[in-house]
Amino acid sequence: MNRLITIALAAGAVLIGSAATAGTLEDVKKRGHLICGINNAVPGFSAPDDKGKMQGIDVDVCYATAAAVLGDANKVEFTPLTAKERFTALSSGEVDLLSRNTTHTLHRDSALGLNFTYYNYIDGQGFMVKKDLGVKSALELDGAAVCIQQGTTTELNLADYFRSNNMKYQPIGYETAPQTRDGFDKGACDVLTSDKSQLAAQRTELKNPDGAIILPEIISKEPLGPVVRQGDDVWFNIVKWVLFAMINAEEAGITSSNADDMRKNSKNPVVRRILGVEGEMGRELQLSSDWAYNIIKQVGNYGESYQRNLEPLGIARKGSVNDLWTRGGILYAPPIR
């Protein structure tokens, strides 16, 4: 009987726990800093630098949100989360914002009670092979030994891809990404499969990077982006438009170094609206008028963030899906007006 009561209480608490938490904006303002759930160890996405400051394209979303809401990009506290606990941490209110290389899927969007804002990196699973195999397409990989990191969705995607193309393969599993790379490097397998962002990084770490090529096929869609709780539309809009502001700024040519100049001198109405000189954009988001200016000035536009974090890994942007729509990519932000 007692146990029954406990269970009932617990279930009730779950309901309360997920139903509450409107007003994240007020919470953040009152607290004075943003709490951002992140990954702690993905180079280029989020990892601490030598000085201990988190760097990466994922944490830049956190810095940008803090800049927009609080006017200071450094008012962020990072909570490292594992893949399993990230959604609980978000829905229980432990973090205000989840920016942790999270793939947007139907299940997460609906059943888990989350809202995906937009994408700050569009990834997809691919293959890397030794050049001397002479393979030009993933469809020639029948019978290959494939190095793969266990316990990730890449395993499932791999199985699906080979089965749907009537091919056989021999999986060689590893626990961590560095081990997988090592196995490939030492010749335990012909092929390494992982998300393309990781492949490019892992290729640079091989003993002979020129001896390996990345095949053109992408066998899964992994649109990664910041996530917020469902049911708090004000906050949802803010995070979404923080991302849009970074992309729009790049499109309009506003960078951290010319933001001040453009704010004073630009006659372009698009630029003037982004920088808060014209219009009421900030107020409509319940932010100050210089919200986007703060983002661009303190964190930079999307291109700068990409340049700073992902180019050193050897993940080229030009013409890839992560380039602006004007340059052949698919990053397309609605206008700020």
Partner: protein, 369 residues
């Protein structure tokens, strides 16, 4: 007059059975099989050891502030990486970022070392009071220093703690808090009151039957769902509570072993003196039982110290996880081995230290009966 027989003085043992040669004959070359094994081991060692020494010391990179030094000399270990990231690996994200605040955890540690040093002195007056003071007051002092809010220092929230500091906090709080709980549970399990006994047995068997990783996972993922979202329950605190509850079950079983080893005569003698339950337990039984249980208790403490790295499953950056994190950064990716070796070395130093201290304790408490 009787002539006393005077034996000649003993001859010294033959040179082949004393000193280094004798030791080697006896221990390394006593039979053909042992000769073979000795030579084989020497051969294997001669292959491995020079390589390790070359890699870890002679060819190693010690200087510099970025990876160019190490990339230029890939045959040696990259200790430059550990050197640059030392603050992060020892103190976690916050203190790794705010080097000017590192004096806070260091002060906390020095105070602790000083107090423990005092307690180790034999024949100190008011030792019991001092010990109680350390146990009850020191945690608050340490928290005030490391967290900072109470002292008006810049706040380092617990989600920002990490590295060796966090490992140390989790293990020491777990160990210290689990001991009294464990004693009570062990006594409870041997109690004659059915309710108390049933509770103790259930508690112990429940926690012993659950893997620590499950406990941590529940504490981190499930617990927050049971609270309304306004209630923020600190993650480190949740881990500490989980670890303490878990550890107390193991400590209790180690102590129960000690209790059972005490001969019945001791209980009966205490009863015959007219001592009540608590006096009997505190003055007669526990001192003996605890002494016997030291190896078992220490064993579980050492296990706990190492098990704390399981908190990486709930996203806390303990020593191991922090070292791993540092080796996954853009600046240093690829240098995982150095990170692991450094973490392993720190773990070894602490565990060996605990083990030596327990041997010392056993010796000083030995009463020869």
């Amino acid at each position: 007059m009787t002539e006393h027989h005077q034996p000649l003085p003993d001859l010294p043992p033959p040179i082949t059975s004393t000193g280094v040669i004798g030791w080697m004959r006896q221990h390394l070359f006593s039979s053909p099989l042992n000769i073979f094994l000795t030579l084989l081991s020497l051969y294997v060692l001669s292959i491995i050891v020079p390589n390790i020494i070359n890699w870890a010391f002679i060819d190693a990179n010690w200087t510099g502030t970025d990876r160019t030094v190490c990339d230029a000399n890939p045959n040696g270990a990259c200790w430059t990486f550990i050197n640059v990231r030392l603050n992060q690996i020892l103190f976690g994200l916050y203190y790794g970022q705010h080097a000017d605040q590192i004096w806070r955890p260091i002060t906390a540690f020095i105070i602790l070392a000083g107090l423990v040093g005092l307690l180790l002195l034999p024949r100190l007056r008011f030792k019991a009071w001092l010990g109680a003071g350390v146990l009850l007051l020191y945690p608050f002092v340490a928290f005030a220093l490391i967290h900072g809010e109470w002292l008006g220092l810049p706040v380092a929230n617990s989600s920002q703690w990490g590295g060796l500091m966090l490992t140390f906090i989790l293990a020491s709080v777990g160990i210290v808090a689990a001991l009294p709980l464990g004693i009570l549970l062990a006594l409870g399990r041997r109690s004659e009151m059915p309710l108390v006994r049933a509770f103790s047995v259930t508690y112990i068997e429940f926690w012993r039957g659950t893997p620590l990783i499950t406990v941590l996972f529940m504490a981190s993922v499930m617990l927050p769902l049971f609270f309304p979202s306004g209630v923020e329950f600190d993650k480190v605190m949740r881990a500490v509570i989980g670890i303490t509850l878990f550890q107390s079950a193991y400590t209790a079983e180690a102590i129960r072993g000690g209790l059972q080893a005490i001969p019945r005569g001791q209980y009966e003698a205490a009863d015959a003196l007219g001592l009540g339950y608590w006096k009997k337990t505190i003055f007669i039984i526990l001192p003996q039982a605890l002494k016997i249980s030291i190896p078992g208790i220490v064993n579980s403490f050492i296990e706990l110290f190492k098990d704390t790295s399981l908190v990486s499953i709930i996203g806390l950056l303990d020593l191991l996880n922090m070292a791993q994190t540092a080796s996954r950064s853009i600046e240093w990716k690829g240098y995982d081995v150095e990170a692991y070796i450094f973490a392993a070395m720190l773990f070894w130093i602490f565990c060996y230290g605990i083990s030596r201290y327990s041997q010392h304790l056993e010796k000083t408490l030995h009463r020869g009966h």
